[in-house]
């Protein structure tokens, strides 16, 4: 297992290198000159040249690339063009909010989605199956900003159970948790849709396998047959979807953070876009890429735990 984990970590290095290179290139092929963005189009040629020098844009593209990689290797994402603050500290100050949102919605998605999918497969074509299918179709069809607004209208405005503005009070841990409920539900319920579907189809496949007949021929009650024998086998595609969905969650967090007015990476991305803050944008892309690669490593390691065939191959 340790060898498998080490191998997987080593494989992440070329992936990260490729991702960082793509980020570097993308930022530089975006049309528009950053010096004009910063200084305005009335700026003198001399001032722009000075700024270019200061930003390191006067160097050859290759030495810019080396600088970029060198900085990232040292955990330095540069300074924001708009505020001149170090990007790393800006990112670190909002990262916990995005992490708690992502984690909470991951829990909502799995805790509701998995049992619902298992139940739907077990009672195929029954009421539970019908309910799960309609529910997940609705989940798939709802854009995050629509469901978010609906949640706000019902639970915050009408029922007044949860605060409308999630960032109103972030110091008190109870209040912070209360503020997390609706955004996490909003993101999580979309995930339920995917997880339910994948769990259902994985379970249907597993329940039709020969080893299920073997398990039943031992006289095991159906609860054990379903959870111990079928579910363990259906888990591999579920883990895949949950892992992939981590990436989607980070993307969807943008919309949810805006609707619920929460601080976070998504909110920061929008700010950077609006201000054409290229360096901040570049830093955020690097952080997001790291997060997705990390999520994938975790997914692969989980495979090793779930399916014994993964380790030996």
């Amino acid at each position: 297992m340790l060898k498998f984990a080490l191998k997987r970590l080593l494989l992440a290095i070329p992936t990260l290198w490729a991702v960082l290179t793509i980020v570097f290139v993308l930022i530089r092929i975006v049309p528009g000159d950053p010096t004009i963005v910063i200084l305005g189009d009335q700026a003198s040629e001399q001032a722009r040249a000075d700024l270019r020098e200061k930003l390191g844009l006067a160097k050859s593209i290759f030495s810019q690339y080396i600088d970029f990689m060198w900085q990232i290797a040292h955990g330095d994402l540069g300074r924001s063009l708009a505020t001149n603050r170090p990007i790393m500290s800006d990112v670190l100050s909002v990262l916990p909010y995005t992490l708690e949102l992502t984690l909470a919605s991951l829990i909502v998605g799995t805790v509701i989605g998995v049992p619902l999918g298992v139940l739907a497969a077990e009672k195929r074509d029954g009421f539970a199956d019908w309910f799960a299918r309609v529910f997940s179709l609705a989940g798939l069809s709802f854009p995050a900003f629509v469901s978010g607004i609906l949640l706000l209208i019902v639970f915050s405005l009408k029922l007044r159970w949860f605060p409308v503005i999630s960032s109103a009070n972030l110091v008190d841990p109870i209040e912070r948790l209360r503020a997390l409920v609706l955004p996490a539900l909003n993101l999580g319920l979309l995930m339920v849709a995917y997880v339910t579907r994948v769990t259902r189809s994985g379970m249907l496949k597993a329940l039709g396998e020969d080893y299920i007949r073997t398990a039943r021929s031992k006289g095991l009650p159906s609860r054990i047959v379903v959870w111990r024998h079928a579910f363990r086998n259906a888990l591999v595609p579920v883990v895949t979807v949950v892992g992939l969905y981590l990436g989607v969650l980070i993307g969807n967090a943008v919309l949810t953070e805006i609707v619920f007015n929460r601080p976070g990476i998504g909110k920061l991305i929008v700010t950077a876009l609006n201000q054409r803050d290229y360096t901040l944008l570049q830093g955020l892309m690097v952080v997001t890429a790291f997060a997705v690669v990390l999520a994938n490593i975790l997914t692969d390691l989980t495979y090793g735990l779930v399916d014994p065939r993964v380790k030996t191959e």
Binding site: Y211, R213, T214, S217, K218, G219, R232, N233, P308, R309
Partner: protein, 323 residues
């Protein structure tokens, strides 16, 4: 003492598009302790349906036993509710399946899968079940079993997996064993080893074995009695010696002629046509569409009649058997 397995007048039906089709019709037999009854026939003749009916493992909502009694070690599996059936399965009756490659759960260790029935039926702890599983694996001659307890099915060969399946089926010391094509998926040398192992365990534990196969060579070497099925009907039933000495039903004769023999002057003769589909089954004798002896009377179902005054040898044919 009653036989460990008694099947009495069992009919099993499946429901297709709202229509009922009998896939096993009025089948009766008993298997005594230490006895091996071979159930023979080509694919789709109802052999496996008979086995699943006995185990109570028919696919729910599609197939069910619609008449008759199945008594396993004194318990009526048809009348019993699901909890009682669960307490019988894997405990008083075990089953081995055709595909050793897919019949074991790929994500659970072998030792656990073998010991699982012991935890379920005898309330053994995990470690006690593990110790017993080791005994069982040594019993079925898995080499260095102690080291292999925590291995997974993909680390075993086909023959070894079938040994594991046997250990699993016999874990709780059942009285009855159903072996559904236990050697079909194995190569010939391994087949012999597995059959020898089964015969050995049967003699030691006094098992009643219901062997399902289409391989008449296997029947000749291990069975005491033979029952030939066609289209869900028993068409011939005899002691193994009588059967090979005097195969009587036209289908039995055709089956034997279809088997390659080392001492034959001619090659094997295939049976023309195939088993009719469920909605095209002829009324009366179901073999009539492929039978060269067919007469008008064949459109009513013949009864099982003795052959040559021998009540232990019965045939279901208007043209054959004692009148």
């Amino acid at each position: 003492m009653n036989a460990p397995l008694i099947v009495d007048g069992v009919t099993t039906s499946i429901r297709l598009d709202g229509q009922r089709h009998d896939v096993v019709r009025d089948i009766s037999f008993q298997v005594a302790a230490r006895e091996t009854l071979a159930l023979v026939g080509e694919s789709g003749c109802g052999k496996s349906m008979t086995a699943l009916s006995i185990m109570g493992l028919l696919p729910a909502g599609i197939a069910s036993v619609s008449a008759g009694k199945i008594i396993v070690d004194g318990i009526d599996m048809v009348a019993a509710d699901e909890t009682v059936r669960e307490s019988v399965r894997g405990n008083r009756i075990g089953m081995i399946f055709q595909e050793p490659m897919t019949s074991l759960n790929p994500v659970l260790p072998i030792g656990f899968q073998v010991g699982e029935a012991l935890m379920q039926h005898q309330g053994l702890s995990r470690s006690a079940a593990r110790a017993k599983a080791l005994d069982l694996l040594e019993h079925v001659r898995i080499p260095s079993a102690a080291r292999r307890l925590d291995d997974y099915p993909h680390q075993f060969s086909g023959g070894m997996r079938q040994r594991v399946m046997i250990a699993l089926a016999l874990a709780c010391g059942p009285k009855v064993l159903i072996a559904d094509e236990p050697t079909t998926a194995l190569d010939v040398t391994i087949q012999r080893q597995v059959l020898a192992l089964l015969a050995d365990l049967q003699a030691r534990e006094g098992l009643a074995v219901l062997l399902i196969t289409h391989n008449l060579g296997v029947v000749a070497s291990v069975a005491d009695r033979v029952m030939v099925m066609y289209g869900g009907d028993v068409v011939e039933s005899a002691d193994v010696k009588d059967f090979f000495a005097r195969p009587t039903h036209p289908y039995s004769v055709a089956l034997l002629a279809a088997m390659p023999r080392i001492d034959a002057t001619e090659g094997p003769q295939p049976i023309p046509g195939q088993v009719p589909s469920l909605d095209a089954m002829p009324s009366g004798c179901r073999f009539q569409s492929r039978c060269h002896l067919r007469q008008d009377v064949c459109s009513t179902l013949p009864p099982l009649k003795p052959v040559a005054g021998n009540p232990g040898h019965q045939v279901r044919c208007w043209m054959r058997g004692d009148t």
